[in-house]
Amino acid sequence: MSLLEIKNLTKNFKGLVALDNVSIHVEEGEIVSIIGPNGAGKTTLFNLLTGVYPVTQGEIVFRGQRIENKSPQKIVQTGIARTFQNIRLFKEMRVIENVLVGDSNNINYSFIDLVFKTKRYRNAERESTQKAMDILESIGLAQYASYYAQNLPYGLQRRLEIARAIATGTSFLILDEPAAGMNPQETEDLMNFIKDLKGKGYTILLIEHDMNVVMNISDRIYVLDYGKLIATGLPHEIATHPKVIEAYLGQEGDEE
């Protein structure tokens, strides 16, 4: 059984077909990329998957459970965490706090514990903070823990978003253009980091425009264009797929 199975997903926005009968599957431990020209429906797919948009046609099965139309909170609890195309960090909170919020569902203490700073409270806060620091260390952000998220350079902000998603405790991450706006060095670091995650057992579904990243780290690729799946396969297959080339560059003989 696949970790994630999206079956016949179709999404209409008042006449505009954003997704047309899209079916995708992701196996445990894979890195799967979704690529396609702008407006192809990739983020829409993510939004349907994470409960932002209602699903009217199609099924989403995660770990054997149907999750379409569950609330975003429930979906995170079943084990899917995401990052966003336009970074959505908690800007006026510290880096460590951003990560802690990701972990917040995993710590439990009562109001009374808070007021009287009981052992339960102190243990929970310590464990959570330690976990957060460990994540920050693994992603190379530990020395920025005290910084406010808004003061981080762009590339590090993207990394922080990933750290926050990891903190939710899931092993299935969906990343929306994680390499956007990064310079070659940052991109290199990111690729290594994602490969590391795979080594640790994470499954990753990502949207990406940077072909270097996509070709280098993906196990499989799906290509969307105008809401339709036009190709799927291994990286080298996709790189030479005529339909894919056509979608990105226009038909043979077209002048721009």
Partner: protein, 341 residues
Amino acid sequence: MKKSNTIYVKLKEFYWKNEKHFISALIAILVSLYFLNLNQYFYRVLTMICLYSILALSLNIVLGYTGRLSLGHAAFYSIGAYVSAIMQVRYNIDFFIALILGVIIAGFFGFLLGLTTMRLSGSYLAITTIGFLEVIRMVLLSWESVTNGAFGIQNIPRPKFFGYELTTANGGIYLLALVALIASVYFSAALNDSKLGRNLRAIKNDDFATTMMGVNTNRYKVIAFTISGAMAGLAGTIFASMNRYIDPNTFNFDTSMLIVCICILGGMGSIKGQLLGALLLVSFPEILRSFALYRFVVYGLILLVMMRFRPQGLLGSLSTRPYKFPRGVKVKEEGIGGEPL
């Protein structure tokens, strides 16, 4: 980034290192005012500063942390006052028990308002809170059998602490208000550093992203209002005993506006800011008696000027203080600072 003024930075670091001592000293000074046998008028003003600090701290939880504007907080103030007054006057209940009841019932109404408004935001939320204030006022006005309607509740007894009467004259009420304030500050600080506080602040930063991290934002919005209502109710119970008379018009929209002003002037999200704001805005009409007529215009101007030129208020800028890690957390790097790049 601007160059930091090293003397300023050194002063700040000195303060951070010795914060516990500074706070103890401040508390000692404030407590000593009780022993100085000041004029009754001074005690009254000091008490009002304490009470408005508590009110501002309560609003801070909703406005400063979750970033939602409530214009109806005077309602919780009045609920606390009325419950406490009624319990004491009608049922001869001891002040401290009446206080607890006032806090609980005000908190309950906070819960109701929170529940009602949890899906609302911005203007809709603000207007609903205004409506809530109106509804409470109308209930207090018309439920004459319990609240005495427009006549209000008179002769609210002075609180007795182990037989000792607390009055404005002997400064006892001031001490009571000060203790309540210290408790509120402690509570706000504890809240700020906890998971609850972080989630509330995350809602203000990005409600949507908070939801997408699995946090039940509606639940936290309701919790914020509940706690906020309870805290404001606390101030109300003390006010009732100080003023010894309350009526439905004592706590009106102007009161709500003043609380909002204090919160914004001091700095949304900043505990110290709430205290400073209360100090400034409660003492200002007393000091400038002749301008008291214009004070409402000033409140409005404060909101306008603050939003335009200094939305973080006086003390609401993001603190450059390094993050306080819980004891026992192993950190590879030493001295992880909060200096911006």
